[in-house]
């Protein structure tokens, strides 16, 4: 393999372990430790991908995950970033974004149509004539996008975990390693993170051949591995900064959600390309990319190179090329070699030609670089007339750096352009945030190490709550490492700023001229920085261009906001385990064994209905309907039992207990007699109904409150809040989970229950709406006569660990009366037959009690205050709608479900919406369909049939009628088939 070098001192590859894989139908062989790209290059593959818009041939640019030229697809993953994804045995890859094969991409001719595809073209072309737009839209959608998703891939989840540290250091280059060590050696608990599989950063690829660096490297790395206070997390990147130093670290096994007290960002700088015609050809790459290829993967990046320099680092790269056996044809310096340091002298000592005040005007080659056109450069532009051609297959660009400051911005740091450095640098850092190394403008090895120590010192001082004066600028380099204008115009264009987006220099200039001359508008109209790399290799040049076009400074031009995530994060990592709490009642297993089909009620599981024991698995709609009807009939004619353990249950005790309840509920609770209950309606400050339940009085200073399942926690919280606000002497106990509850309902309920309890159930002793305490099967119970389903019945509240035994006993004893368990659906029908509302079903976010026919629950003169009183006083006589009962004709039975009126179907009168159905169901007791509807006045009072629009678009007539539909005088609440024995 003539592209694989002899072993390099710091290489990542393990030559004893070869790995083979396929790419575009060909087999390649690499080593363990290779990335996909390095193995492909080592195997002689020149072409790695096709660009987004014009399908131009592409290869390595940054080798740092700051571009997506190498984007691959396998059978079970897409958008694989070849530069940074390790090779794996047997993987079969092809390039994304090609029509056909990479080599013969049928869409490669799109580039010829580039005149019709300027920036923002989809706003301008193709929409006239209008009738062809759908065709163009389909075509454009097909061509746009990267990668293919296979919807039959299985969903995977990677668990997440929390982490905690005193100091989090992001980036393990020299300054990060030093910062971590300084902090740990002073006693702090440190986590050191680096996105690469190994620590070292640019110390290992840029200074791989530097003698002076070797000792520092060995020392730092050995001290880190021996320091127990440093937790090292390699192959993890920090995805973003969130409030109070919450940083998700994304690694191969998933996300660690790290909470730090101090964060030191040593994230370094991102190398920036020069802009010139065909700067995207395979063979044109950043200098640090070539250094990574050589040092990490022992890959020879080319045979004959030209190096474009705007700084010292380019000369270091030239020396590395020479050491790797690459012929360096020339160094092209944007300024003068005399300005440069030691490395430049060494390059010249090798006899290499250096061209001062020159730039690359154009790269040439068909599918890959074969020559560059060099021209004199005056700092602003090139003199094309005096150009000459240098044949080469490799061009390194070393023109400057942009800080990897994304997380600094997210943390609220203020940065500004330092003209001496020609780099944006931190100016003001918030509490707990520190920056060091090249990110902070320290460039020599000594400066970076000193800056890392400084940052650690300042972090530790803040950790200890000591006052600290930040010496942020003390170790910054005085000379610049970036050229302020590596941007070369060309009449024929194809000089790219954003390589991801195929964005040319003229696109940006035209956008500014069209008026998109603010950095935020420029970004969105031109799409600069909106591709997968999110501006890592293009934002800085974009800012420079906009500043130049508008005549503003870099600081005045500003920068767009960098948002998480720093690199794309797989959905499987974000998904984590699925924490979706589920709460079960003590009778849950019994319900399942007896055919219950369960439904969710918030976090709880409740039986919706009970299917016959002969039914297995899914049940038809007709079978479900039949079960519900039978359950309703059982309650009306004999006996039913429902598990209502999910209800909120709150004990309220203390001298001010009555006062508290008077404030929270509309009715007067402090006058309830011991042993009686009262309906409890709660409204909010605006008078809107928020919950209902009952309140029962146990003793002078003790009440028992029930609330709906979904509102249980909020009811407890509201009571607790009022105690706080008013300073009341009350204690609460939330018994929702410790007590279970069941409702035994039906004419036979008194007879069956009396055999099991010591409580006197006679009508005189225990009237409707009463509450009694006693024992049931030896267990302490509270019995409440509630009216929700409209039959004689007892709600039994008892300790959770007694519930199953009592339930089973009731089912056993009740079998003589054909007892049936009934579920939520049957209960909804039963209460509907009585015209009882369900809060949230028949009421919405604006319903007040008057609209729901509940003025009886709102006495306005008996209490000085309750929540919502002033609103209710004003709403009482200004209703605009009212809840009414209605029914459908007997025998109404449409052929299809689309002809059946349903919940939320609208009532239409004279072409206007005049109401909606809130509840509707078949009533077994009445033999016809009944329901409730919220209807505008005066229609609600007109007592005329109304028209409901159903799913099919047809209208069905409904007839208003009085509620309750069943047992209007409430005789059934006390009726009893037989006398109590």
């Amino acid at each position: 393999m003539k592209f694989r070098l002899d072993p390099q001192p710091l290489e990542w590859i393990d030559r004893s372990e070869s790995v083979s894989f396929r790419f575009e139908g060909q087999t390649f062989s690499g080593f363990s430790g290779d990335s996909l790209t390095s193995a492909l290059l080592a195997g002689g593959q020149k072409l790695l991908g096709r660009s987004f818009k014009y399908h131009r041939p592409r290869s390595v640019l940054s080798m740092a995950n700051h571009d997506v030229n190498a984007l691959f697809q396998s059978s079970d993953a897409t958008n694989i970033r070849g530069d940074v994804t390790p090779v794996s045995e047997g993987v079969d890859l092809r390039a994304c974004n090609v029509n056909g094969t990479l080599a013969n991409d049928k869409d490669r001719y799109i580039g010829l149509l580039s005149r019709f595809l300027p920036v923002g073209f989809y706003y301008k072309t193709f929409h006239k004539p209008k009738k062809f737009f759908p065709y163009w839209e389909r075509l454009i959608r097909e061509k746009a996008g990267l990668g293919e998703i296979n919807t039959s891939w299985s969903a995977t989840r990677q668990p997440k975990r929390y982490g905690f540290s005193e100091v989090l250091v992001i980036g393990a280059g020299p300054s990060g390693m030093q910062a971590a060590l300084s902090a740990a050696e002073a006693g702090a608990d440190v986590v050191l993170v680096d996105e690469n599989p190994r620590i070292g950063g640019s110390l290992d690829y840029q200074l791989a051949n530097e003698e002076a660096a070797a000792k520092v490297r060995a020392d730092l790395k050995s001290r880190i591995s021996n320091n127990a206070k440093i937790r090292l997390m390699e192959a993890h990147y920090a995805a973003g900064w969130y409030t109070d130093h919450y940083v998700p670290l994304v690694g191969p096994e998933g996300i660690t959600k790290m909470r730090a007290e101090q964060v030191i960002m040593a994230t370094g700088v991102m190398e920036q390309p020069s802009v010139f015609r065909n700067n995207d050809l395979p063979g044109v790459m950043l200098a640090s990319a070539a250094q990574r290829l050589i040092a990490r993967y022992a890959v020879k990046p080319g045979q004959r190179a030209v190096v474009l320099c705007g700084n010292d680092e380019g000369y270091r790269a030239a020396l590395d090329l020479i050491a790797a056996g690459v012929e360096v044809a020339a160094v092209v310096d944007l300024e003068r070699v005399g300005k440069r340091g030691e490395w430049a002298k060494q390059v010249q000592a090798q006899g290499i030609t250096v061209l001062d005040h020159s730039a690359i005007y154009e790269a040439q080659g068909k599918g890959a670089l074969s020559a560059v056109v060099v021209a004199p450069f005056n700092g602003k532009g090139c003199d094309a007339g005096k150009s000459h051609v240098i044949p080469c297959d490799l061009l390194l660009m070393s023109v400057g750096w942009a800080p990897a400051a994304q997380m600094l911005y997210q943390a609220g740091a203020k940065l500004g352009y330092a003209s001496q450095a020609e780099q944006i640098l931190p100016r003001e850092l918030p509490q707990g945030i520190h920056a060091c190394g090249r990110l902070n403008g320290a460039f020599t090895l000594e400066q970076r190490l000193a800056d890392g120590s400084r940052a650690a010192r300042e972090a530790l001082a803040q950790l200890r709550g000591e006052a600290v004066v930040s010496e942020l600028t003390v170790h910054r380099d005085t000379q610049s490492h970036s050229h302020p204008w590596p941007i070369i115009g060309h009449p024929k264009g194809k000089n790219f700023l954003d390589i991801d987006e195929d964005l040319q220099l003229k696109d940006l200039i035209n956008a500014a001229k069209e008026g998109f001359d603010n950095i935020e508008l420029m970004k969105r109209f031109s799409t600069n920085g909106m591709g997968p790399s999110q501006g890592k290799h293009s934002n800085m040049n974009g800012i420079r261009v906009l500043a130049s076009v508008t005549g503003k400074t870099i600081d005045e031009t500003g920068s767009t906001t960098a948002r998480p995530m720093f690199h794309p994060v797989p959905v499987s990592a974000l998904a984590g385990r699925r924490f979706r709490p589920e709460r079960l009642t003590p009778m849950h297993q019994w319900h399942l064994k007896h055919g219950a089909r369960m439904m969710e009620a918030g976090q709880w599981q409740r039986p919706e209905f009970y299917a016959p024991s002969t039914a297995a698995g899914a049940v038809t709609a007709a079978q479900r309907e039949q079960s519900i009807v039978q359950e309703v009939q059982a309650v009306r004619s004999g006996l039913g039992l429902i598990d209502v353990s999910t209800l909120g249950k709150i004990e309220v005790m203390g001298p001010d207990a009555g006062r508290l309840l008077d404030v929270v509920y509309t009715m007067k609770m402090s006058t309830i007699k011991i042993g009686m209950t009262r309906y409890a309606l709660a409204v909010d400050d605006s008078g809107v109904i928020i919950d209902d339940g009952i309140v029962g009085r146990i003793a002078e200073d003790r009440f028992y409150v029930t609330a709906t399942t979904s509102h249980a926690a909020a009811a407890f919280r509201t009571l607790s809040l009022k105690i706080q606000e008013l300073g009341l002497n009350v204690r609460l106990a939330n018994l929702t989970g410790s007590l279970a509850a069941m409702n035994l309902a039906g004419p036979a309920s008194r007879k069956v229950l009396s055999a099991l309890t010591d409580v006197d159930l006679s009508e005189e002793s225990f009237p409707y709406l009463g509450m009694r305490e006693g024992t049931l099967l030896g267990y302490p119970v509270r019995l409440i006569r509630v009216g929700f389903v409209g039959e004689l019945g007892y709600e039994i509240h008892l300790p959770a660990n007694a519930a199953l035994e009592v339930w089973e006993k009731l089912m056993d004893v009740g079998s003589a009366h054909a007892i049936r368990p009934f579920g939520v659906e049957a209960q909804r029908v039963l209460r509907l037959e009585k015209g009882h509302i369900i809060v949230g079903q028949d009421t919405d976010g604006l319903t007040n009690p008057f609209e729901a026919n509940m003025s009886w629950a709102v006495p306005l003169k008996s209490k000085p205050w309750f929540t919502g009183k002033p609103s209710l006083a004003r709403l009482k006589n200004s209703c605009e709608r009212r809840l009414i009962g209605f029914r459908l004709p007997q025998g109404f039975s449409p052929k299809s479900s689309s002809e059946m009126p349903k919940e939320c179907h609208l009532i239409i009168q004279d072409g206007e919406i005049s109401g909606r159905i809130t509840s509707i169901a078949y009533s077994p007791s009445l033999g016809r369909i009944i329901g409730l509807a919220m209807v505008d006045l005066p229609l609600a009072d007109a007592n005329v049939p109304m028209q409901v629009k159903v799913d099919s678009g047809a209208f069905v007539a409904i007839e208003p009628c009085a509620t309750p539909f069943y047992d209007a005088d409430g005789a059934r609440q006390t009726a009893d088939l037989t006398e109590v024995a």
């Binding site: 969130y242 409030t243 109070d244 919450y246 909470r259 006062r659 404030v663 400050d685 605006s686 926690a713 407890f716 919280r717 607790s720 809040l721 706080q724 606000e725 008013l726 300073g727 939330n734 306005l860 003169k861 000085p864 205050w865 009183k869 002033p870 609103s871 006083a873 004003r874």
Partner: protein
């Protein structure tokens, strides 16, 4: 995510809390526009607000003073400082 530093329970993540908004006292015997202002309007200008938070796992209440411009919590307030007498409202004759 934000941490709330509370007396007795230390620094706890914001996801363990319910946020109940600015502490306000309902006006007694208010005319309609005063009452409507209390019910429907909220203080949106940047400034320091006293706000109530409910820590669900412990059931405890916390009151913080927060600068809404910077979203920094600048102090914790004892419940006794924001207690009020039960209001009253008489139906006008």
């Amino acid at each position: 995510m934000k941490l709330l530093d509370c007396a007795d329970i230390g620094k706890r993540p914001i996801t363990e809390f319910d946020y109940l908004g600015e502490i306000r006292i309902p006006p007694s015997d208010a005319d309609e526009s005063t009452w409507a202002d209390y019910v429907f309007n909220r203080n949106g200008a940047p400034g320091v607000l006293r706000e109530r938070w409910y820590h669900r796992p412990t059931g405890r209440w916390f009151i913080f003073e927060r600068d809404t411009l910077t979203d920094q919590i600048i102090g914790q307030v004892d419940a006794s400082e924001v207690r009020y007498e039960e209001p009253h409202y008489e139906i006008p004759a």
